[in-house]
Subunit: 370 residues, 4 copies
C-alpha cells in the first residue's frame, strides 16, 4: 500500500463559480468511515448548481468546501470500528447517509432525511454537505460505500450514482418492468442510463429526444425505438407504437418544460410516471388526467434503497455500459475546463470525468501530479 500523504490537491469553492484547485490536508476517517484515494469523479448537473449558488446544507463559499459526488477510488484507511471493508478494496459510492434517527431514516427513507444537512445529528451528503471527490482523497461513511468489482474501471464506476438514482426511482414505482413498454424521455446521461436499466430489467424501451447524436447513443445502449421529437409528435408516436394504449411506464429524464404534460399524455391508463430530471421552473400540467386515467407520478431523491448496490450488480453483469456515455477525461487541475465542457456540451460531451491522481497542469500554469 502506498503511503498516505499529509496534503493533497483538492478543488474548493471560493465563491459562486469560483472553483480553485488548492492544496489542503488529507482528511482522517472517523468512526464508521473510510478514507478513499479518489481515482475518478464525474461531473453531474447538480454540481453546476452547487458551483453557482449554495444548495440547502451546502458549506459556505470560503475556500474550504470540495464538491464532487460521483466518485470512485481505493480504500486506503479505515475509521474506528470498520470491518465491513479492507484497505485496498476498490470502492464506488452513493451520496446520502441519513441521520439514522429521524422517522424517515429509521423507516429506510434515508434520502428524505428530516435532518438533511445536520452534521451533528449524523446526516451527510457526499460532495453536497461534506467534502466530495474533486480531490485526491476523500472521507466517506461506510453506509455510502460499495465494493467495486475488479472488472469495472474507476471511470465507469462514477456512473453508478446516475444509475442508482434512476434505479431508485424504478424501485419506487415497483421495480418490475419485465415485458412492459417504457418510454424514456430525454437522452442525457440520466436518460441513457434509464434506457439501459429498463432494458436490463426486461422492458421494451422507446427513447425520445431532440439530438440525433444522442439518440444514436441511445440505440447503441439498447433503446428499441428512438423518436426525434423535432420530427414527430412523441405522444402520437408512443401511442402508435403501443397499439393506442400508451406506455406502461414513462421515465422522464429531460427536465423539459413540456415533458410532464407529454408524460401524462403518453402513458397508459393505470400507468406510472417517474420524474428523474429536474425542471428549471414550475411546469403546467393537466393533473386531472391523473384522476381520470388512474395515474401515479413518482419523484425519487438520490440513490435511496441501496440501489447503487443493485446498479453495480447490473453493471458487473455487463448490462449497464458506462463507456458510451463517457466522452471526456481531465486531470483535477483542469476541472474548470472539464466543467465548461460538460455544461456547454462541448465536443458532444455527455459525461466528463475528472481524474485526481493523473498529473496535469494547474490552471494557473504550474505543474501538479503524484
Amino acid at each position: 500500500m502506498q503511503q498516505i500523504p499529509k496534503t493533497m490537491l483538492a478543488a474548493t469553492l471560493f465563491g459562486p463559480g469560483d472553483l480553485r484547485t488548492i492544496t489542503k490536508p488529507v482528511p482522517q476517517p472517523g468512526p464508521g468511515e473510510v478514507l478513499i484515494r479518489v481515482e475518478a469523479c464525474a461531473i453531474c448537473a447538480t454540481d453546476l448548481l452547487i458551483l453557482d449558488h449554495r444548495l440547502p446544507g451546502q458549506p459556505p463559499f470560503d475556500g474550504t468546501f470540495t464538491p464532487g459526488h460521483e466518485y470512485s477510488g481505493t480504500i486506503v484507511s479505515l475509521g474506528k470500528g470498520v470491518d465491513e471493508f479492507r484497505v485496498g478494496d476498490r470502492a464506488a459510492v452513493e451520496v446520502h447517509k441519513g441521520c439514522g434517527r429521524c422517522e424517515n431514516c429509521i423507516r429506510g427513507l434515508y434520502t428524505a432525511c428530516l435532518n438533511y444537512g445536520n452534521l451533528t445529528k449524523g446526516h451527510r451528503a457526499n460532495g453536497l454537505t461534506v467534502d466530495g471527490g474533486f480531490a485526491q482523497y476523500v472521507v466517506a461513511h461506510i453506509n455510502t460505500v460499495y465494493r467495486l468489482p475488479d472488472h469495472i474501471s474507476f471511470a465507469e464506476a462514477t456512473l453508478i450514482t446516475t444509475a442508482g438514482t434512476v434505479l431508485y426511482g424504478i424501485d419506487r414505482l415497483g421495480g418490475f418492468l419485465a415485458g412492459e413498454t417504457v418510454a424514456v424521455t430525454g437522452p442525457g446521461p440520466i436518460g441513457l442510463m434509464a434506457v439501459q436499466l429498463a432494458k436490463a430489467l426486461g422492458a421494451r424501451v422507446l427513447l425520445t429526444g431532440t439530438r440525433e447524436s444522442r439518440l444514436q447513443v441511445g440505440r447503441e445502449v439498447g433503446a428499441d425505438v428512438t423518436i426525434n421529437v423535432n420530427e414527430t409528435n412523441p405522444v402520437d408516436e408512443v401511442r402508435q407504437l403501443t397499439g393506442g394504449k400508451g406506455a406502461d411506464v414513462v421515465l422522464e429524464c429531460s427536465g423539459a418544460a413540456n415533458a410532464a404534460q407529454e408524460a401524462v399524455e403518453m402513458v397508459k391508463k393505470g400507468g406510472k410516471i417517474l420524474l428523474a430530471g429536474f425542471f428549471k421552473d414550475p411546469v403546467t400540467v393537466d393533473l386531472s388526467r391523473l384522476i381520470s386515467n388512474n395515474l401515479v407520478i413518482y419523484g425519487a431523491r438520490g440513490e435511496g434503497g441501496r440501489n447503487v448496490g443493485r446498479a453495480l450488480a447490473l453493471m458487473a453483469q455487463g448490462r449497464l455500459q458506462a463507456k458510451p456515455l463517457i466522452t471526456h477525461y481531465f486531470p483535477l487541475p483542469e476541472i474548470n475546463r472539464a466543467i465548461k465542457t460538460f455544461a456547454q456540451r462541448l465536443e458532444g460531451a455527455i459525461k466528463v470525468i475528472v481524474e485526481p491522481q493523473k498529473g496535469g497542469k494547474l490552471e494557473d500554469g504550474s505543474q501538479s501530479g503524484d
Copy 2:
C-alpha cells in the same frame, strides 16, 4: 314483493342542460345483472359535466339516456345466472364494471379499463355510459352492486360512491394511515368524506377550506383541526402543526388552481399526495419538488379495488356519517331544481338527493308518484 311496472319515470337528456322527466319502459336485467328499484340518487359534480357536454363513452343527447351514478335501492329482479343476490336485497352501487378482458381489467384495474365505453366488450359505467339512477328502476351489473345493511338508509347509501372514490385513492397510496397526520384540502362532499375516512383509519386530520360553515361540518365529522385559508396560510399552518415536518399525506379534494402547489409544499419529505378533486384547467406546479423531496402524487379513478365494499363496512360500523353532508331532498320530477340547488350551492347545499319513488309535481306542472 311489489309488481314491477312496465313503465317508469326517468330523467333523460335531450340536449346540453336539457334534462326532462319522462316515462320510459322499465329495463330488463341481462345475465349477471339485477334490476334495482331506485330509492335515492345523489347528484355529483360529474353529473354537471354529463348534463353540459358529453363525456367519453356517453350516449347521444337524444332523449334516451338517463344519468345518475350515486344511487341505492332494492333489488327487484335477477338476471340469468345471478345467485349472488336475492330479490328484496337492499343495494348500494359503484360506477365501473370493467370489460374483464383488457390487460388492466384482468389485473384488477377495472376503473382504468382500456375498453371504457365499449358496451360490446362488456364495459359499463352506471349513469355514465349506460342508464343510471335518476329513474324509478335501473339495471346494474352485479360487479357494481353491494348488499346494503338494514341500518343504513337509502339516502345515506348514495354517499358510498363518494366514500369509495376517496378510499380507493387511499388504498392506492397504501391504505395504512394509522397514526399519520393527513391534510385534507377542500371541505366539499369529497373532502368531508376524506376527513371521515382518514379518521376511521386512525389518522389525525387537518382540514383546510374557505367557508367557515363547511369547516364547521368538517369539525363535526371529525377533523382535528380546521384551517381557514382566507385567514391563514395553510402551508405554514400545516407545517407548524406538524413540528415543521409537513403532513404525512395530503388528500387534495378542492380542485382549486393553487391546490396542487400547496400540496407539494405542505407534505412531508417522503410523503404522499392524492388528487381527489378534478382541476378545472391545467395547473402550474413545482414538480421538481417531487424529486428533491421524494414525493409521490396519486390519481385514482372511480371506486376501484372494491373499495365501495370497504367504505360500506366503515359506514355500517358508524364511522362514516352521511347525514351531515345531506342537505336537500327532491322528488324526481324536480330534478332540475335539485341540480340547480347543488350546482349553485343554494341554501348551503352540500349533497342533494333525488328520490324517484317519492311523489312530486312534474316540472311541467303535471302530477307524478308511485
Copy 3:
C-alpha cells in the same frame, strides 16, 4: 388458411391413468374465444395428478375430457366479438380464466377465483376444467391467449406456462431482484426456469439439487453457483456464499420434504421465500423462524397477473432458453409413452412435448396424421 376439419385426434380420459387417443369433433369458439390448431403441448407434473385422480373442478372420467395445459399453436378461427387477435396469429397460452365476477377476480387475483371450476359463472382452466391441448384443436378464451413472436418455436412456447408460474411468484414477492442473491432449490423444469428468470431480472443465482446432470443444465442456463446437496449442506453453503447473511430470496422449486425447513434456514433475515413446487405431504417447519427473522413465505397459484406475457417478452429477448429443458418429442398417438418418459424421467427427460399435428402410429398400432 387451411380448412378446419370436422373431427380431430384428441387424447381423452376414460379412467384413472386411462388416456386414449380418439377422434372427436373439432370444437367451436364461443364469444371471447378463439380456436387454436395445437402444434405442441408439454407434459407438466400436474398432468400426472389429472390422469391419476380428479382434481377439483375436473370433468368426469367418461372419455370426453382432454387434458393438457402447456400448449401453443395457431389461431384458426375467432369467436364472436374477438378483435384482439387475427386468424393466423401464433399463440401461447396460460391456464386460468377467472369468473370475472367474484371479489378476487374483480381485484385481479384471477388464479384464486372463488368460482373455480364453475363454468356457468365464466371460470375456465385450460386442460384442467375444460378441454386442453392434447388434441389437434382446442378452444381458449382470449384472456388466456398471448401472441407468440415468430422467432419463438411452438415447442419453446409450451414452456411459457412454467415460466409464467414462477414469474408470477416473483411478481408476488416484489419482482425486483436486481443485485440480490437468489437461491433456487430443485433443478426440475420449474427450478431451471426460476434460475433463468432470476438471472434475467439481474440476480445472482445459487442452484441446489441432487442430480449432477440437472445441475449441469442449471449452469448452462445461467446459475452462478450450483450446490450438490448430496455433497454439501446447502444451508451452510448458501450462508458461506453470502458472507453469512443468507440468500435475499429463496425460490423453492423441489417440493422435497425438507425443502421448506432448509429455505427458512438459508434465507436472510428479512428475506422472502417463494414456494413453487408442490409438496407431496404436509411438511414440518420451524415457523417461529418467520417471526424471529422477519420472513415471508409466498405461495403463487398458476400464472397470475398476466405474467405469461412478461415471460414471453423475456423469452423473445433471448433471456429464457427453453431448448435446454426440452428433451423429448412425441406425436399425439404416443402420448402414453410420452407421459411415462416424463414421469419416470427416462433417458434424462426434463420436458417432454407432444406434437398433435405430427403423424404417428396410434398406440393400438393404427396410423394417424394430418
Copy 4:
C-alpha cells in the same frame, strides 16, 4: 424535577431463573440516548425465555443484566445532542434500535438488523441485549422512545409494545383491513391486542380460543364473534361465517401446535396469514395449500416500521384499551411473584405490571421504596 439518585433498585439475573432485586448505579445516557425514570414495566412471554436461558445477544448470567422491555416512564435526563425530547416528557418505548449500518437497517428493516446484539456497531435491544425496565431507571436510545400523551397511564403504555408488534405485522401484510374479515386465533395478550387493532382499522373480527373467560374479554374489547374451539371446529365456523370463503386475513396469536394448519385452512383463497405467536416446536403444515390457494404467510419481528408510534396514536384516540388486559400490579421487589403470576396465569392473569417506583418489601424481607 426530582434529583436523580446515584443508585437504584434493579432486578438482575444471576443465573437461569435467578432474578434478584439489587441496588446498582443509575446509568448515564450517552449521545442520542435518554435516561428514563421507569414507572411501569410489563412482563412479556419473551421475558420467561430470557430468565430461563440466554437468548442470542443476551448478556451473561452474572448479576449485572436487567431485563424488561415493555416499560414506560418519565425522561429525566438527556444524552449529548438530544433535542427530540425534553426532560419531563412522558415516554413509551419499543425494543429494537438497529445498527444503522447493515443493509437491512439502512433500508428500514431495523428489527431484522444483521448486527443484532453487536453493541459496538450500534445495535441495542432494550431489555434483551442491554438493560431494560425492571429497574427504577433505564437508558434508552431515542430511536426507541415515543412521547406518551398525558391521558394514557404509564401502566397502559406498557402494552404499546404488544400492540406495536401486532401492528407491525399488519403493516407488513398491507395495513389495509377496512371491511375485511379478520380471524384472530388465540386470546392471549397478543391476540386481544390484535382484536383491537383489527377493529380499529375497520375490520370485522372473529376470535378463536379455548378459555371462555378470555373470549369474554375479547368480546369486551371488540371481537364481533368469538369461537370456542373446544366446542366448535374453528375452521368450519370461520368458513360458515364468511359465506364459505374463509377469512381475508388470519392473525395467528396462539402459538398452538395446530394453529398454522388451521390458519391455512380458514383463510380465503388469495388471503394472508400473520404469525404473531411463537410456536414451541416446529409445526406440521400442508404448505402446498399456499400454492394452490395463493396464500402468503408473514412473520414479523418486534415492533418495526415505527409501529409503536402508530399504536400509540390509536391508543390515544381511545381505540385500544389496555386496562381490560392488565390484571395485576406488583412492586419491583416482588418481581418473582409477578413473574410466577404471569407465567402460571394465576388468578386469571393476562398482563402483569411491575412498578419500580412503588414501595414494597424486598423478597428477602427487607424494605425498599423511593
